[in-house]
């Protein structure tokens, strides 16, 4: 077994409590991030479902000619943000009004002529459902002389968008705070490990071990701690998903790639934390 690996493993044997604490610290920090990921993912999915219903309705003047209508439809379909455009005739509008509001059945059937306007209903592509994008399309429609009015759920659209950004921001901040805590714990563990082995390190330097050789066991220890912490976080996140799903409400598990990312982030994080700490503390030996 190579020297660095043997030394890194012996560090776990020599101070199991510290190694255990480091793994738990990374594990729980990443678990919090994982939980936020789970929450954010599910909020995101919920918002997407609401956002799918984002619709712009342009009411048309009765005097609109078929050629004007044809041209407008072509133009609007050509906009990159537009997913789907549907032309609703006056007749369709009345039919759906009758269906949706049966209590006014009498009113609608006694009419001499149909008071409801024809309309264009537009659905936006995913990713273009932001208030700005929706507003741009709405303005574009309003510019047609035969469009009488344009409606879209502007206020609630703004609100949904805000909630989404707030959730993202909060997850990032809290995640970062926990990551910092994990970094401090790893750095402390490395510091103690360096301190416990300062005699060995000074002898290693004395007899001509290279800096890389001196650092390698500590870095490897950091990588192993991070890997185990990341795996623990992935396990806890998955466990929470199972428990929540089974007891409270149906949620979706975050995608597998995210879980891999959690483990990889833990590993890289362990490596970087121990590198910073080992550089700093080896200077002092």
């Amino acid at each position: 077994m190579p020297y660095a690996l043997r030394e890194a493993l012996s560090a776990f044997r020599r101070s199991p409590l510290l190694a255990f604490l480091s793994i738990i610290a990374i594990g729980f920090s990443l678990f919090v991030i994982g939980l936020f990921g789970l929450t954010a993912w599910n909020i995101g999915r919920a918002i997407e479902k609401v956002e799918e219903k984002v619709e712009i309705v342009a009411y048309l003047d009765d005097a609109t000619t078929p050629s004007q209508l044809e041209l407008a439809q072509q133009e609007v379909r050509g906009l990159p943000a537009v997913l789907e455009l549907r032309y609703v005739t006056k007749f369709d509008a009345l039919a759906s009004a009758r269906e949706e509001m049966p209590e006014f059945q009498d009113v609608f059937s006694d009419l001499d002529n149909n008071p409801l306007p024809a309309s264009l209903e537009i659905r936006m592509k995913p990713g273009s459902r932001t208030p700005d994008a929706v507003k741009r399309v709405a303005e574009r429609l309003r510019a047609y002389p035969f469009v009488e009015d344009v409606r879209y759920g502007r206020e609630w659209l703004d609100k949904i968008y805000q909630i989404r950004r707030l959730a993202g921001g909060a997850a990032t901040m809290i995640g970062a705070a926990f990551a910092l805590v994990a970094a401090i714990i790893i750095a402390t563990a490395v510091r103690i490990a360096v301190f416990a082995r300062r005699e060995e390190i000074s002898i290693m330097r004395l007899v001509g071990a290279t800096d890389g050789f001196v650092q390698r066991p500590f870095l490897l220890e950091g990588v192993m701690t991070g890997l185990m912490g990341g795996a623990l976080a992935a396990l806890l996140t998955w466990g929470s998903y199972r428990v929540l799903s089974a007891t409270m409400f149906r949620i979706e598990m975050i995608p597998g790639q995210w879980m891999v990312v959690v483990v990889v982030v833990g590993t890289v994080f362990g490596f970087l934390s121990s590198m910073v700490a080992v550089r700093r503390h080896l200077e002092a030996v």
Binding site: E199, E200, I203, R205, L206, V207, G208, T210, D211, V214
Partner: protein, 258 residues
């Protein structure tokens, strides 16, 4: 082998430690570096190991110059130096054998070669029978011998000894010094810092450099007539069994050769 040229060393707090120090230790010499505590002996030792750089002047050690050496080259210089300290610096949780092997392991010597070399150097210092003992089970003199064995394990060109007899009783100190003479007799350069003036006086055949307040105040080589031949190394005492030279004429380990 070791050449200091107009070396000055100042520390930010304590001020000047070395003041225009120049001397040249040639291959195969054994040199005493004497002086009171604080005269600058240890500073010279640290400069030779390139643990520090001079404030001015130049230190050259076996082809490396303090002016041009890069941080990553320092380990390779150290492999050509064997260093022994007053306080032994052995690892207490390892046996004598493991302490010596440690120096070889961490400089990348192949495992198959390590035990061979460990046996050889422990035999050389007369401690092969205590290979399995821990430092706490050894006397001061024996501990220092283990430290010497460790210093020799990487087959250095120079042995640096900073007060190697400082923590030893007179008898043990003489034993360790006799070991240095043997090593020197086999051709190794030895630079030994000491304030044991009795020891220095007892061996007038070796060169003495005396430091006081950071300056060289006496150098027996400069004081001697310039054309006088260098004193011959002392004969090996009969009570020391020295292995045959073939056994010790060891190839210098060069890490760059893999």
């Amino acid at each position: 082998m070791i050449k200091l040229t107009s070396v000055y060393k100042e520390y930010p707090r304590s001020g000047a430690a070395l003041d225009n120090v120049s001397f040249h230790v040639q291959k195969g010499e054994l040199v005493f570096l004497t002086g009171h505590s604080g005269a600058g002996k240890s500073t010279v030792m640290r400069l030779v190991q390139m643990a520090e750089t001079p404030s001015a002047g130049e230190v050259r050690v076996s082809g490396f110059s303090s002016r041009t050496i890069k941080r990553r080259e320092i380990p390779f210089l150290r492999r050509k130096l064997g260093v022994v300290f007053q306080d032994f610096r052995l690892l207490r949780d390892r046996t004598a054998e493991q302490n010596v092997a440690f120096a070889l392991e961490v400089t990348g010597v192949k495992r198959a070669e390590i035990s061979q070399r460990v046996n050889r150097v422990l035999t050389q210092v007369g401690l092969s029978h205590k290979a399995q003992s821990f430092p706490d089970e050894l006397s001061g003199g024996e501990r220092q011998r283990v430290a010497v064995a460790r210093a020799l394990a990487n087959e250095p060109l120079v042995l640096l000894a900073d007060e190697p007899t400082g923590n030893l009783d007179e008898w043990a100190g003489r034993g360790v010094f006799d070991l240095f003479r043997d090593i020197n007799a086999l051709g190794m350069t030895v630079l030994m810092a000491t304030h044991d003036l009795d020891l220095v006086r007892a061996h007038p055949e070796y060169r003495v450099i005396e430091l006081a307040q950071g300056q060289v105040v006496y150098d027996s080589k400069a004081a001697a007539k310039p054309d006088a031949p260098a004193p011959a190394p002392a004969a090996v005492p009969a009570e020391w069994t020295v292995p045959p030279r073939e056994q010790l004429a060891i190839d210098i380990y060069d890490p760059r050769e893999g």
